[in-house]
């Protein structure tokens, strides 16, 4: 067990037009919707990494996110990644130059898998995170794992097997996979453990589990039974129900190796 890395706890912030869509509710009931201040809060709380998803709809407002990334990079000194709206190598370069550690590609990679290889060549595998949105559809000839890749928030089925896609992305040069279960997402009833362990045990790159976190036990389950290397959390910390340090204490007491000193 000595050789094991600490399991990472990663808060995820959705950002639209430079503002987070869900503010943190602090004990004094003041909502903070500034992604830079939220990042600082989670950094000081012991987050191991932070994920930003830019859900800005219009292209004209994309540069607002670059400014957010730059200010976050001046404020926190842990790795963070940025996803959403990244379609080209040039998009990647902008975000990395602004100070992000990693960029994540999701639907752009489904449409054009080459972007993974080109991004990995240009910036190194460790920079490229493959975001996967996955739905359980049952095993079939076309979808042997029973899990299918979806895009557009789960509305469009792509006819691609999730396990095959994960393996292909690893070959193309993805350095990490952020695996989101559309079925579990938003339920707060726990991560999709079967899917997570299936992917994690069949690729050689780290897997971040996403979707379904509602209680610290859910993180325990996905980091042990689910074989995930990291767990993404959102509303359970954004609304002040749990703190990152509290979640880490629970995990530590249950025997999961986490970073306890920051």
């Amino acid at each position: 067990m000595e050789s094991m890395l600490s399991k990472r706890i990663i808060p995820c912030l959705d950002v639209r037009d430079g503002k987070t869509t869900k503010g943190i509710k602090f004990s004094d009931n003041v909502d903070i919707g500034d992604p830079v201040e939220m990042a600082r809060f989670y950094y000081e709380e012991g987050a191991d990494e932070i994920v930003f998803y830019d859900i800005t709809a219009s292209n004209e407002k994309r540069d607002i996110m670059i400014d957010v990334v730059r200010r976050v990079a001046e404020t926190i000194f842990i790795p963070f990644s940025v996803g959403g709206g990244i379609r080209t190598i040039e998009d990647m370069r902008k975000v990395l130059l602004a100070g992000a550690e990693k960029i994540s590609v999701n639907s752009a990679a489904v449409r054009n898998p080459e972007i993974i290889a080109r991004g990995a060549e240009a910036f190194g595998n460790q920079c490229i995170v493959l975001g996967m949105d996955v739905k359980h559809v049952g095993k079939s000839e076309k979808i042997p794992s029973g899990y299918e890749i979806v895009i557009n928030g789960g509305r469009t089925f792509m006819g691609i097997d999730a396990l095959q896609w994960a393996k292909e992305a690893e070959k193309l040069g993805a350095g990490e996979i952020c695996l989101n279960s559309i079925d579990a997402d938003g339920t707060c009833e726990g991560y999709e453990l079967t899917l997570t362990s299936l992917i994690s045990e069949n690729v050689g790159i780290p897997v971040i589990a996403s979707g379904g976190a509602g209680r610290p036990e859910h993180l325990y389950d996905v980091l042990t039974k689910g074989k995930a290397d990291a767990a993404l959390i959102a509303s359970m910390v954004h609304y002040g129900t749990y703190s990152i340090s509290g979640i880490k204490t629970c995990l530590d007491e249950s025997g999961v190796k986490v970073r306890k000193s920051w």
Binding site: M1, S3, A73, I78, L97, Q126, G204, S261, W262
Partner: protein
């Protein structure tokens, strides 16, 4: 002034931001004169040994860094910067700078499972260091502190007296190397929160004799 060596390697700005945050002046540069005139040198980097060395040689930076080292200036290597100060790297079969005797080796896990646990490569995430020799730059580090690593190769100095800190990931490897006025970390102090920043801060005021 601290010179942060600029070459074709990713993420040089994060080191600069961290140093600025700590209140020290730095410049990211490949200008040989500026490097020669700097008080101390940080040699960071993310990427592969082959292309890093090619870029370093093309810009004449290998000589500049060696001269800085020989002149007694404090030099800090980070990640790929720590690897290519060695003699040789297995990555891309690369002949390196030879400031520290030894090789850079690839992680190889024969049975990819140890105790039923898959050890993934690269070694990416937070891990601890065991300090073997006291060093001013590490003086604020506590046993339970962790540091952010992302690498598939690790440095292996010939002279074990240069092992300042080691980390375990399948094997025990050199995560901090120190020799005279050079200190080099395999992890990223600029991305390792409070303990990482303490290393950068101590480096910025370190006077090796």
């Amino acid at each position: 002034m601290i010179a942060i060596i600029k070459y074709d390697a990713g993420n040089l700005t994060s080191v600069e931001r961290a140093v600025t945050h700590l209140g020290f002046k730095s410049v990211v540069t490949d200008d040989l004169k500026k490097i020669a005139g700097a008080e101390r040198i940080i040699f960071p980097g993310v990427g592969a040994a082959g292309s890093a060395m090619e870029s370093i040689r093309r810009l004449g930076l290998d000589k500049a860094i060696k001269e800085a080292f020989l002149s007694g200036k404090p030099v800090l290597g980070i990640c790929i910067g720590t690897q290519i100060i060695m003699d040789y790297s297995e990555e891309n079969d690369t002949s390196c700078m030879g400031i520290i005797r030894g090789k850079v080796l690839s992680f190889r896990f024969d049975e990819s499972r140890k105790n039923g646990t898959v050890l993934k490569i690269p070694h990416m995430g937070w891990n601890r260091i065991t300090v073997h020799r006291k060093h001013f730059v590490l003086s604020d580090i506590k046993d339970e502190d962790e540091f952010y690593f992302v690498h598939g190769y690790y440095p292996s100095p010939d002279d074990k007296d240069q092992l300042i800190g080691t980390t375990e990931y399948g094997i025990r490897f050199a995560s901090v190397i120190g020799y005279k006025n050079i200190i080099a970390t395999q992890f990223h102090p600029e991305k390792s929160g409070r303990p990482g920043l303490s290393i950068l801060k101590n480096f910025c005021v370190w006077n090796p004799c």
